[in-house]
């Protein structure tokens, strides 16, 4: 008996994620991107353990705007702060917040979308109106206002505020997919076989949209990193004194910095680009893999 169940488990076919990952490895560009992402994540999280954030953000008026040197690998900013240290911690923060926002908005969006799509009718109608409304909001302004207004502001509140205006895309996508799937005969068949709505949603429909979810979440991660650095760039991102890639770029709004002190902003710009491109490469490769699987299945 034991042995038999073990055998069944063993023969269990690979999960969506496994299949996608396997396809991903075949795609060279995506593979390089994935490795880059893993390395950079390990690097920034590892190094930042040894960096003292308080020290880095302390203003040192005797060392302002210094070009790269042995002491400061990437020079200093107008407050004499070490750019390299800010870059490391900033990247770590950007990745962390991007991930957090993606998870929060993803979970909410998926739940919203599946419920709306699966139940359809009036429920769907009502829920879609909510999405429509959120979609037309000038979300950047509203996030900025909330960021400014929130009394006890920290990284987590920031993530929640961002997520609150970023869940609609995935909700809409999942909803339309759920709407299609539940009309397919296999979902109808499940009803006639006595399965409950709950079980049909989770056991029948969801497995068919997991690859879509994985792909969308990955692409959302890139997008969220972009939005976060954008908000920080405008000065409404992380709480003050928390280094961010966007903040480094914001220094470039000073013409002097833009023209003559490349070390302050160019590395941050390049890093954001690389991060977003890599995440996107991985996401697109996953999408292609998912599409290919769709064709076969």
């Amino acid at each position: 008996m034991e042995a038999n169940t073990a055998k069944i488990a063993e023969q269990k076919s690979p999960s969506s994620l496994n299949i996608l990952l396997r396809e991903l490895v075949r795609d060279k560009l995506a593979l390089v991107s994935l490795i880059f992402l893993i390395l950079i994540t390990a690097f920034v999280f590892g190094i930042s353990l040894f960096l003292n954030q308080a020290e880095i953000v302390t203003v040192d008026l005797f060392a302002i705007n210094e070009p790269p040197s042995d002491q400061f690998i990437l020079g200093t900013d107008y407050g004499g702060r070490d750019v390299f240290g800010q870059l490391i911690i900033g990247t770590r923060n950007s990745l962390a917040i991007g991930f957090l926002v993606t998870v929060i908005s993803g979970v909410f969006g998926i739940a919203f979308g599946v419920v709306s799509g699966y139940f359809g009718g009036h429920i769907d109608n009502f829920m879609m109106r909510i999405i429509d409304f959120f979609m037309v909001l000038p979300f950047l302004m509203i996030i900025i206002v909330f960021v400014t207004m929130t009394p006890s502001y920290d990284i987590f509140t920031f993530a929640v505020i961002m997520a609150a205006f970023n869940w609609m895309g995935i909700a809409r996508l999942i909803r339309s997919k759920a709407l299609q799937e539940k009309e397919l005969d296999y979902a109808q068949a499940s009803k006639t076989l006595g399965s409950s709505n709950f079980s049909i949603i989770f056991k029948q429909v969801l497995p068919n949209i997991t690859s879509l979810i994985i792909v969308t979440m990955t692409l959302n991660l890139a997008q969220n990193i972009g939005i976060e650095s954008g908000l920080s760039f405008l000065g409404f991102g992380f709480p003050e004194d928390t280094p961010s890639l966007g903040t480094l770029l914001a220094y470039a709004t000073n013409p002097q910095t833009l023209e003559f002190r490349w070390w302050i902003w160019v590395p941050a710009a390049v890093l954001i680009l690389l991060l977003m491109l890599s995440v996107r490469n991985v996401g697109e490769a996953l999408r292609r893999a998912a599409d290919a699987r769709q064709r076969r299945g």
Binding site: R129, D132, F133, M135, V136, L137, P138, F139, L140, M141, I142, I144, V145, F146, T148, M149, A222, G226, S229, G230, F233, L234, G235, F236, G246, L249, A252, T253, P255, L258, E259, W265, A269, I272, L273, M276, L277, R280, E284
Partner: protein
């Protein structure tokens, strides 16, 4: 068609109401009220209280809301504490600039996106298509503020082809030809920055739409009629794919607004986006509220317009 428009309008109305409620709540959350910016700081507490009572600031929230909406409808957006004048006046000064910037951005978006999309779609998987797709790929991953900074750096500072800040050269006489040319000149670089990023979505849409339409059965019908490839593309594929694009600009408004905020900041371009950032920095909340509301209404109306245009170009929607 009329039914469709009316029904679409009926959805728009609650949207605007919800928006106003949201903005009103935001305004209530903001510190200070209508009096904060106006009053002489030496005034006594009692006098302040009388003023508050007179302005209805002690009323329950729904009456305040009603008063606020009534004001809005009459064009009263409150007082700016920073400029000591009507918010309406403050905004209208900046409105022209932002509208000019948006129009420039939209025009360039279409000018660039449509040819690129058509080429990319028709000759898909050719080297030219790969180049275009490569660009959209990069464009999608590039945040607009990085892109705009680089553009400013190259064309503004290194090459010096365009002015690097402001909306008009100093000392120009309003009303003269030079004045308008200077305005246009100032809006070009920020406008193109927005356009070069916002083309990405349109190009991708067009390309996938064309590649998709290519494989439709009715294209085979057209070929079977003996239509040449050019005719098949011009009459059947492009027409069907480009028409919906005419409706896109409305939906683009939300992202356009986002774009202008960044670009106005980077180019020091005095439009509504920059005004928003300045006002929130200076805690001039009546302006912030008014701008949020205006941007929101613009987005809602944009979406409405797009839906209606799409309904007009696609008979399948129109009939329903």
């Amino acid at each position: 068609m009329w039914k469709f428009i009316v029904r679409r309008l009926l959805i728009t109305f609650p949207q605007i109401v919800f928006l106003s409620v949201l903005v009103f709540i935001m305004a209530q959350l903001m510190p200070g009220d209508a009096l904060t910016g106006l009053i002489d700081p030496t005034i006594t507490q009692e006098a302040l209280e009388i003023q508050r009572e007179r302005l209805g600031l002690n009323n329950p929230w729904y009456i305040q809301y009603a008063d606020w909406v009534t004001g809005l409808v009459q064009g009263d957006l409150g007082q700016s504490y920073r400029f000591k004048t009507d918010v309406t006046a403050v905004i209208s000064e900046r409105l022209n600039n932002t509208v000019l910037l948006s129009v420039v951005a939209l025009v360039f978006t279409y000018l660039i996106a449509i040819p690129l999309g058509l080429i990319s779609g028709r000759y898909n998987d050719s080297p030219l298509d790969s180049a275009i797709t490569g660009y959209t790929y990069l464009g999608f991953a590039t945040p607009i503020f990085i892109f705009a900074l680089v553009i400013l750096w190259i064309f503004g500072y290194q090459l010096g082809w365009f002015p690097t800040s402001g909306s008009v050269a100093p000392g120009m006489q309003p009303g003269t030809m030079e004045y308008y040319l200077s305005k246009l000149n100032h809006s070009l670089l920020p406008g193109i920055s927005i356009a070069l990023i916002s083309v990405v979505g349109t190009v991708q849409y067009l390309r996938s739409e064309i590649v998709d339409t290519k494989q439709k059965d009715f294209i085979i019908t057209a070929r079977a009629k003996g239509a040449s490839e050019n005719r098949v593309y011009n009459r059947h594929i492009f027409r069907n794919s480009v028409l919906p694009i005419a409706a896109f600009f409305g939906w683009e408004i939300t992202s356009l607004i986002t774009g202008t905020v960044f670009v106005e900041r980077i180019f020091g371009y005095p439009g509504m986006g920059l005004l928003f950032l300045e006002s929130i920095g200076q805690r001039d909340f009546s302006v912030v509220t008014a701008l949020t509301l205006l941007f929101g209404i613009a987005s809602i109306l944009g979406a409405l317009l797009s839906d209606i245009i799409l309904g007009m170009v696609d008979p399948r929607i129109r009939i329903k």
